[in-house]
Symmetry: C2
Subunit: 331 residues, 2 copies
C-alpha cells in the first residue's frame, strides 16, 4: 500500500461552504521513519469549529492552510508501527485529518479500549464534544440540583451531552433544536424535560412555558436570535456558557440585540474553548466514559460513507441536517 486519499482546503469560502472549497487528492504514502506509525482512519469527526478554521484572520486557532489536509479528529487502527508506544491492531484516536491514512509520531494520539465503548464514540460523547459539554457545564454554568438549564443545538454532539449532564446533576433541562424529529429525539432519547423547535415555535414564548420560573444556566451553541430569545428568560445571576455561534459562521450578523439583560439580571456570559482546559480532559473523559458505558448518557450518530462524501456531510452539519454526532465512515 503506497497511496493515500485526502481532502485538502482548495479555497476559502465566502459565505456558505461549497463543495469546491475542497479538493480530493491521491498522494503517495512515505515509508515510516523510526518513531512513526501508520494509522488506517476508520472514522472522521466533523465538527462546527472547522468552519472557523477555513477562514483567514485572527481567531483562537491558526487558520487551516490552503492546499493542506483538512484538520480534524479521527479514529482508526494502527496498520504498522515503528513507535514503541503503539502496535499494529491498536485502536487509536487522534487528529490525523480528512484522509484515509495518517502517519503519526504519536503526538496527540492515544489508544482506546473499545470493549464497552464503540470506537466512534471517542469522537463524540467520550471525546472532544463530550469534554466540551462537560467543561462548559461544570466550569462555567456550575449547575445546582433543581435549576433549569437551557441548551441550544440540543440534538448536536455537544448539546446532547450538555443537557444529559445537566439532567444527571438534578436540573430541569430544556433543549432548543430545529425540527420536530430533533426535538423528539432530544426529549424521548436524551430525556430532556422539554425541547423547543425554533423552526416552528416562538422561542421566547415557548421558553416561558417550558421554564416558567426562568432559566438559571444556558449552554449556548448558536447565538443570534436564539440567544436573544433566551436572555430575557434568564434569572438573576444566571450563567451562559458561550460554546459556539453557529448562526454566524457564514458571516451572518448575529448581534446581541438587547445586552441590557446582561446588566439587569446580573448575568455572567463566558466564552470558552475546550483546548484551553487540557488539564480537565482526563477527569471529564473518565466521567463521560463511565456514563456512556453505563447508559446514563446516550448519543446518536449521523454517518456519511466514504471520503468523497465528507465535504457534503460537513456542509450538511453546518446546515443542521445531522442528528447527533456527524461522522464519516471510511472503508
Amino acid at each position: 500500500m503506497t497511496s493515500n486519499r485526502r481532502i485538502v482546503l482548495a479555497s476559502r469560502p465566502s459565505g456558505a461552504v461549497r463543495p469546491d472549497n475542497f479538493r480530493l487528492e491521491t498522494v503517495d504514502l512515505p515509508p515510516l521513519a523510526d518513531g512513526q506509525l501508520l494509522v488506517r482512519n476508520l472514522w472522521l469527526s466533523l465538527d462546527p469549529y472547522m468552519r472557523g478554521r477555513m477562514n483567514e484572520g485572527r481567531s483562537y486557532a491558526p487558520a487551516q492552510p490552503l492546499g493542506e489536509t483538512m484538520v480534524g479528529g479521527t479514529a482508526g487502527t494502527v496498520v504498522e508501527s515503528r513507535h514503541p508506544g503503539f502496535k499494529a491492531g491498536d485502536q487509536v484516536v487522534g487528529y490525523l485529518g480528512w484522509q484515509e491514512y495518517g502517519v503519526s509520531d504519536g503526538s496527540g494520539l492515544y489508544a482506546v479500549d473499545t470493549a464497552h465503548i464503540a470506537l466512534p464514540a471517542y469522537l463524540g460523547a467520550v471525546g472532544m464534544p463530550g469534554v466540551t459539554a462537560w467543561i462548559g457545564l461544570n466550569r462555567i454554568i456550575e449547575p445546582r440540583a433543581g435549576e433549569t438549564i437551557v441548551v441550544s443545538a440540543a440534538a448536536g454532539a455537544v448539546g446532547g451531552v450538555a443537557g444529559q449532564l445537566a439532567r444527571l446533576a438534578g436540573c430541569r433541562t430544556v433543549g432548543i433544536a430545529g425540527g420536530r424529529e430533533k426535538c423528539d429525539y432530544v426529549v424521548r432519547e436524551l430525556r430532556f424535560d422539554a425541547c423547543i423547535d425554533y423552526k416552528s415555535e416562538d422561542v421566547g414564548q415557548a421558553l416561558k412555558a417550558a421554564a416558567p420560573q426562568g432559566v438559571d444556566g444556558c449552554f449556548e451553541n448558536v447565538g443570534g436570535a436564539i440567544l436573544d430569545a433566551v436572555l430575557p428568560r434568564m434569572k438573576p445571576f444566571g450563567r451562559i456558557a458561550l460554546c459556539g455561534l453557529i448562526a454566524g459562521y457564514n458571516g451572518e450578523p448575529i448581534p446581541i440585540v438587547n445586552p441590557t439583560w446582561l446588566l439587569v439580571s446580573r448575568l455572567k456570559l463566558q466564552g470558552f474553548i475546550v483546548s484551553d482546559h487540557m488539564d480537565l480532559w482526563p477527569q471529564a473523559l473518565r466521567a463521560l466514559g463511565t456514563q456512556v458505558a453505563g447508559g446514563q448518557i446516550r448519543y446518536r450518530e449521523t454517518i456519511a460513507h466514504g471520503l468523497e462524501n465528507a465535504a457534503e456531510a460537513f456542509i450538511g452539519l453546518l446546515a443542521g441536517r445531522n442528528l447527533g454526532k456527524q461522522l464519516v465512515r471510511l472503508g
Copy 2:
C-alpha cells in the same frame, strides 16, 4: 419648621428625561414619632441608575412610583432625634431622596466622620459609586499587576475610582470619556496612563495605540459603540465588568454587534449591581476611605445649587455634562 420641599416623579419619560417628568412640591413635615429622627439634607446624590427606575417594567429594582419623592442617596445633618442611635448635629448619609428634609427610622442611615473626608465624598468615592468601582474591579475583573484595564465613562464618579483602583493595583489604565476637558482631567488629575476622547477619536484605533498589547479588563459603564470598539481589543481570557449601559438609558438600540469576540477571545462578561454585594461594603468602604483621606484616590464634583435645579442637573448627568460626581447642594 413644618414644611418640606421635595421633588416627585410626575410622569415617566418616553426617551430622554424632560424637566416636566418631575414636580416640585411643598408638603408639611409630620411630627416625629418615637424612634424617628429628622435630617436636613445638605447634599443629594444624582446617579445614572435613577434613570432606570423612572421606567416601568421589570428591572433589578422596583420602579420609582409616580407621585412619590424621587429616590436617591443623601448626606445631611440630624436636626432632631427621637432615635437612640442618633443625636442632633450628627452628620449622616442615607437614602432620603430628593427633598430638603427626611424623616427616618434609622434604617439605611449611618453617621460619618468628616474629620478627614468631606461629607459629600460619602456620596461619591467613599460611597455607593466608589463601592461599585471597587466590587466590579476586584470581584469581576480581578486585576493583576502589569495588566491593562480600560474604563469607560472614566471621568464619572464610578469610572474615576475604578481606574485609580486599577492603577493602585499596578495596572496600566486607559480611560474613555467625552471631550478634551474630561480626558485632561482623567490623565492629569486621576493619573490614568491615557484617555480616549470618544467624541473626537476613533475609539478602536485609539485603543490600539493606547493599549498595544491588548486589554485584560474592561470596566464598562456605557455600552453600545464604546463596548463594540473595546471587544476586538480584548486579550484572550479578558474580563468585562458590566456596570452600566448609559448609551441605552433612553431606549436607544445598543446591540453588541459582534459577540464572536466573546467566544474567540474566551471573554467573561458579567453584569453586576452594587446592592447585591452588601457583604463587601464594609471592606470596600474602609479601603476607599483610607485611600481618599490619603490622597491616593482623587475625585471632583459637579455641584448644582438648590432643589429646584435637581432635575436639570440630572438631565445634564445623563447627557454627560458633569465632571466627576454630580451633586445637588441644598441650603
